[in-house]
Symmetry: D2
Subunit: 337 residues, 4 copies
């Protein structure tokens, strides 16, 4: 950590800053320039996570040098994390596609997606039973009933399931049914929920918050990891920008950056990332080309009747066509689907 | 709601869209232009909150005409909502300043802020016992112990208290201690938590999410109102933009817009809105000039030792000086503090 | 165009809005709903480009239905525009890679990039002689001298050149040397410059402004087209967001959207789009997968000595490796490089 | 400047970085930590404006310590710059309001604004004769004819005028007519234009670009100052964010920040900053409360017939009422209008 001092401090004022730094167990190293004096604070600057130095008298600004997260960082673990779920390995050479409806609406509706996505090559079934909806007047999901329909579709197709949990109080019931727990974008900084899933022994997919920086995203993953659960999948799903043609702006550069900074698998959700089914195929392909380990794609047999996110859902035939293109691109890059 | 059709549809295709609109109990009214045919869907378009029409075949786009929220809208209730808390009226002529430390750290530390802010004219004491922190390695708050220190400061100063609740499971304990419940920016779309506070009979301050539109903000307030609790205070606290000089960009235009669209009181938090104590006074003054009904300001007797948000906390003497300026501006605009 | 009226207007007030609409040569079509009356303004709403209706008494808001641009729209011309430059066809099956240094620094430095990028398969040479620099103290480019070095490299390698023009007063000299004129992101709304290049008979690459919407981008292209020059190449180069890991956020969803809305070729610039050479390969691959017709890539033989944009420049060997991967992905998707 | 090295470098690699730093005339000061070695580069880091160090082998990142601008900085000149125009002092105790129509449309239309704004207390007349319009089909301004109407209104009212220049080729004619040259937001990084106005001896109002950081804004002012012209007024006019209720998000925190970092006068434009006339009064008041030295306000006698920006123009009576409130707030804060 670099501490930049205001110009014109007395030796005594500088000494007080040095003392403060040393009180945290760090060493202070002074460099006096013509216009500014700076202090290098040497040691584990995470001890100073609360960064109170910025409000210390005489301090102009504080520049961190080290990353504030540790367990999820590539420096902590060089090798990619591989997560095994029902025999599938996530984070290795094989790219996984998790597909299915946005919301679970009925037993049949789930099957109508699950069967064709399985045939087309998807390896996981996605579907929401607890839904975070912007308006209180929107469909809020079927709850446990919805989970049971997912479980039924798993029995029929053999696809393991991934579904969202919104509330620590629902964690028991969701845990019983699902193979992967999903934390949605709106809950990326629901720290209580992160702490709870961190205590479980089940993979968690953590979606990037709508306006989360990559650093905040990794710190949220660190919340889970620091409780003991290291089976974390990161998912880029679009960030909020000024552009209105798309629901969000899919930040694909996050994929190679996350792969550099962290050892965790990285997925892309082109459905939420664009909000438009016609943009899902090009952005799914681009996600794979950017190095993603997997995709999360909304598929609905009748998008025009869907109770949520119809406009961004692919029909099964379009999904099957996309899977063929994805395979070609994956192979061109030395991976497989 | 206006439904814009794609060019070149057959009469039968148009008819199917009309049927779909009518199936929701709305009337369909066609206008045929040279380049596009549009349909006005007349009636309560909130029935279509799930907006599946956008994925209906032949539909190019859907333009809503009415606001998606109702109970919190100025159209629903013309007169300003006035919320009474321990004899204080929030939302009327008097502007309220809620001040105190970011985090509760000790019994003394709370008092060291509470006593001077009371003397300077603040009418409520703020302080956090459950803290949402970006890093798992940061101070997470004292929990119920912290609440008891706030209650103690209330006894000493007579100031009612406002404190944040993060988790539905903590609601009972926070409810017992606090006079106003605060929902933080990170939880603005924690819909389960909104639903729970909506069932209580205690005022709620709802802070705008870091990247929430004004419409999403009002929809989150609608979640609370639709459960029965109408004592809601809205708080602008800065939005995320590309600018890095400030922690957030305080969007003061949200104040007059919220006052137009809604009957609820509107506060401004210049501490989180800027992240810098030196910007708190000008932005507090600007907030009042823009029409805010109150302010939320962080005050700490020793910001350089604070366990959170030191850089944005005012010292008590600076806070007292600000209160004098605030009074002058409030009076110039026909209000009082 | 839909004109939404405020609630509670008298018939006379409504009539005045109707008259105003008709004064522009449009037809007005009323729909009276329970909560709002709306008017469909039928005809060429581009006649109302100045949108004064929003400030007409009684009008709540105006919702455009048609796109405000015409000549560059896919509706105006179904088939892709193919631009021929020295025998190369841009916008067809073949993907073009334009590569070279950010700034022209010397005759040798240009050659040191031009020769290896030609060998690796690039079809155009890029390089800046007039440089838009954020600081007045940064290197501003060699001007005409730089153009002559580019021309020399063209002679040696046979690669046609693309270079930026900043000022209408430089247009003559740049025109004499270059094969494609580039309008940079900072000049996307330099309407005088757009108008001038619109009068020329030479292809123009127009880069998206740092915070331009897709609609504004296409309106800037319309400026060029409306003066007669239809040889326009659009280039996505990253937009400004809150994320700080990258210099800009490359908005790859702009690629399929622009291809839908317009018939013009669409390029991607992963160098400016990320600001980091290590992110150029994954984002170049992703750009192709998203459907781009070409790439603009900065290559420098000694990035550590470059006078501008060193951190985002690839070395020739890394560029050659990337070209191999690009070919594989292009072929997988039925295109070629 | 702090240079952070990658972990695990050899002494020789470190030595090469040191040599490179010293080759620019700076001194290098090493600090070796447990996880990273950093080098303090001591001296005038503006010599390194081109920042090629980031791409030097072994360098992880470069953290600047000093501001990249100089002449416009508060460190260079402690006292506020006061600019005299026709006897008016801009930047002192008195707050100036510059008002008038967005576009000059006719001799009468200018007078219909100029006379009442003068009566209400405005001290300058604003109006555009060269207009930067998003669409080529919008009204582009009257050019020199418009300038002559402004000059006529100046004769009648005695108000000095401010008007925009878009193109270096128009600078002569605009210079002849106007008292203050305005550089609009879209041209904030039109460096050729900045350089040209920097050579003149006439005040320049520089508006912040739509997505410019405060640092980039000050660097653009530095372009003007470095050519010799120090009579620069900065103007905040709203930045682009995701919020759609307003045309831009007026960033009022920029006002106190610019006053801290620079000695130049700072204005606020609440008309462009919001895009809505009904938000102009609260945001004008807030601008003054935040410490602005003046305001730029659009006034039109018939906004519903305006050829540009009607929705954000105040009528003369509303402007007069606002001026009364502005005076009260200015006085409350020890200033005058």
């Amino acid at each position: 950590m670099i501490v930049v001092l205001k110009p014109g401090l007395t030796q005594e004022e500088i000494h007080k800053v040095v003392e403060r730094i040393e009180s945290f167990g760090l060493r202070a190293h002074l460099s006096e320039g013509k216009e500014r004096t700076i202090i290098g604070a040497i040691g584990d600057e995470r001890l100073l996570a609360d960064q109170t130095l910025e409000s210390f008298p005489g301090v102009e600004k504080v520049l961190p040098i080290l990353k504030p997260y540790k367990l999820v960082s590539r420096e902590f673990q060089r090798a990619n994390t591989i997560i095994e779920v029902n025999g599938h390995k996530i984070g290795g050479k094989k790219i996984h596609v998790m597909a299915g409806p946005c919301s679970v609406e009925s037993k049949n509706q789930v099957l109508e997606s699950a069967v064709p996505v399985k045939e087309a090559g998807a390896t996981f079934l996605r579907g929401g039973a607890f839904k975070p909806r912007t308006s209180p007047y929107s469909f809020q999901g079927l709850g446990e009933e919805g989970l049971s329909y997912l479980a039924h579709a798993r029995e029929v197709t053999g696809l393991p399931i991934i579904t969202e949990v919104l509330d620590p109080r629902d964690l028991d019931v969701v845990y019983r049914y699902t193979d992967i727990l999903q934390i949605g974008a709106r809950n990326m900084q629901n720290f209580k929920l992160l702490t709870e899933v961190g205590k479980l022994n089940k993979p968690v997919m953590l979606k990037r918050g709508m306006s989360a920086t990559i650093q905040e995203f990794l710190l949220s993953a660190e919340y889970i990891a620091s409780e003991g659960n290291r089976k974390i999948i990161l998912c880029e799903r679009g960030i909020r920008t000024y552009e209105t043609e798309t629901r969000n702006t899919l930040d694909l550069s996050a994929v190679p950056i996350l792969k550099q900074l962290s050892h965790l698998p990285v997925f892309v959700d082109p459905s939420h990332g664009t909000g438009r089914w016609d943009l899902v195929p090009p952005m799914a392909l681009a996600g794979i080309a950017a190095g993603a380990d997997g995709l999360l794609i909304e598929v609905h047999s009748h998008p025009e009747l869907a109770l949520s996110d119809g406009p961004q859902s692919l029909k099964p035939d379009k999904f099957a066509a996309l899977m063929k293109d994805l395979k070609k691109v994956a192979e061109a890059l030395g991976r497989e689907i």
